[in-house]
């Protein structure tokens, strides 16, 4: 499925300074029964966000009206655990377009890239600077430029470059996905398939 193009994002950010945030927290398994990709945002961080009687937990950041924006800023090893793409869908469906962390789990990172959420890995130092800025002013804006591969704290002008391979960068800026690419080389694949032993 082609998705929204991503070039530059200028927005406030939501801080979640917890390490090892796993995909079971991002979207608990009991919400994986859907057969369509709709409504996952409602259950993003369900058990951190709501009590068992479905009342909101006031101390959780998504329930704090002070914070908003299209960037989620998570602690190291963000997205560890299951391969459920539903976790990335929940992040997207809630309204985030970018997750910043100092370290991502592999599959989650790949899933984000495949659906048009940009995972931005920054240094642990820069991550702390972002947290500090949000703490100081929750309305402070950040700029994530995919084109320049750079994230900037607009209030201070400090910025840091980030990595992404050219192929994925191209895909995201154009809103293409891997299947579009693979279908284009279908002939090669069919040829290759003839020679596989298994």
């Amino acid at each position: 499925m082609a998705y929204d193009k991503f070039t530059t994002l200028k927005t406030t950010a939501v801080p979640l300074p917890i390490e090892n945030v796993d995909t079971d927290q991002i979207i608990p398994a009991r919400f994986l029964k859907a057969t369509e990709r709709v409504g996952f945002g409602d259950n993003l961080f369900r058990d951190w966000r709501y009590n068992q009687d479905n009342t909101p937990k006031e101390d959780f950041v998504l329930n704090n009206p002070k914070y908003s924006g299209k960037i989620l800023v998570g602690g190291a090893n963000f997205g560890s655990g299951s391969s459920r793409e539903h976790a990335a869908w929940a992040v997207y469906d809630y309204g985030f377009r970018c997750v910043i962390s100092s370290f991502f789990a592999d599959i989650f990172r790949g899933n984000c890239l495949n659906i048009g959420v940009l995972p931005v890995q920054v240094s642990a130092d820069f991550l702390q600077k972002i947290y500090a800025e949000i703490e100081k002013n929750p309305n402070s804006e950040f700029e994530v430029s995919l084109v320049e591969q750079k994230v900037t704290i607009l209030a201070t002008g400090e910025s840091e470059p980030f990595d992404i391979n050219d192929y994925k960068k191209d895909n995201m800026t154009n809103g293409f996905d891997d299947i579009d690419y693979l279908l284009n080389i279908k002939g090669n694949i069919q040829e290759f398939a003839k020679s596989t032993p298994l």
Binding site: I18, D22, A76, E85, D166
Partner: protein, 471 residues
Amino acid sequence: MSAKKTLFDKVWDSHVVHQIENGPDVLFIDRHMVHEVTSPVAFLGLKSRGIGVMHPEKTFATADHNTPTINQHLPVADPLSANQLRMLEENANEYGISYWGLGHEKNGIVHVVGPEYGITQPGATIVCGDSHTSTHGAFGAIAFGIGTSEVEMVLATQCIMQPKPKSMRINITGGLQFGVTPKDVALFIISQLTTSGATGYFVEYAGDVFKNMSMEGRMTVCNLSIEMGARGGMIAPDEKTFHYVKDREFTPKGDDWNTAMNYWQTLYTDEEAEFDKELTFDGSQIEPMITYGTNPGMGMGISKDIPNASDVKGGEATYKKSLQYMKFGEGDSMIGKPIDFVFLGSCTNGRIEDFRAFASIVKGKQKADNVTAWLVPGSHQVESAIKEEGILDILTEAGFELREPGCSACLAMNDDKVPPGKLAVSTSNRNFEGRQGPGSRTLLASPLVAAAAAVTGKVTDPRELMEMETA
């Protein structure tokens, strides 16, 4: 002459259809396992693109994540689950994919039935929309979990786009102590590496400990590779592997077998091949393990005390939050903590060897009254073996019941949920907050530790019960 290659390089490189500069490789996939939870949106994607499945004969579907483990002959009561199962069946039928649904004799957890029927083979590339696909690496396959967009990709093109991971070799030398199982070996490695220590790597396990390990044990270890952040883990195939694979339904026969063997026998790491990272541990230092926190890296030898926050690497606040969730204190001993639930099962420890181990401890004893036990075979084949080997009688006499196959309390999508606040000793693979049900608290351990807890009602070193028997 060709460069020296690792086992991983050999399998990966021979499956690369196309390379993109500063981008991913296009990797051909030999086997695609599909289940009900991560596939419906992928099939919807195919429909909206107006394309079909390129190789239905390389695609295998089973229902396991979202299935009840009792009364499987009755219609599934939960309408959402029933709908998801029906979707898989319809999609499998529509695209000509073999489907082992609920009640089918071959039904079971995807990573248990794959090897059982010979779908899993050395040197193959295997993917599934489940992170524990790494299990199949036990056969010298490259096997890893994928997201739903990738499931769609493989259905559509039999390929996946992945940057080649870095390589790591983990050697475990020497022998294992009495009472130490493959699960303990894996939990030990994760406790040393943390849950992100192998992120970005594909791991090869080498050394005597793995050479001497059964195929079931190797599957347990490879299964848990993802819990150290690795994309997957693998073990070079040997005689044990070939013996296991031979004569299974989907393995090559006759001349094809010989051709396959010719390939499989080249699957080892060349002597001078280099890894990006190499670690070595002494197997004799490993104890039966147990976890005390909310990720699989928070594990320790069962006789040890919970480390102080100041002594652990990484975020102190997160560590404290984790212990608070578990209702444990720094410096606590795990031994003697009263438990409420025991779960034996999952693609980590739901195979016949695991039931044998469990039975070896509970034999002649009684389930503790305070414990609810869910014993869930990984497949019907495991279930039959439990019955045929007389293990069911041992379990029944000890006050246990056997459930029907499925993922069950591993991810608690069905009714097998540990209630809020309750403490479970579980042979599965994740102790994340709420993994086994909202508010549930999970201790990961081997089938022996689970059995010892089930009969004593508290965390118990299984070696005590084993020694009593041999004394």
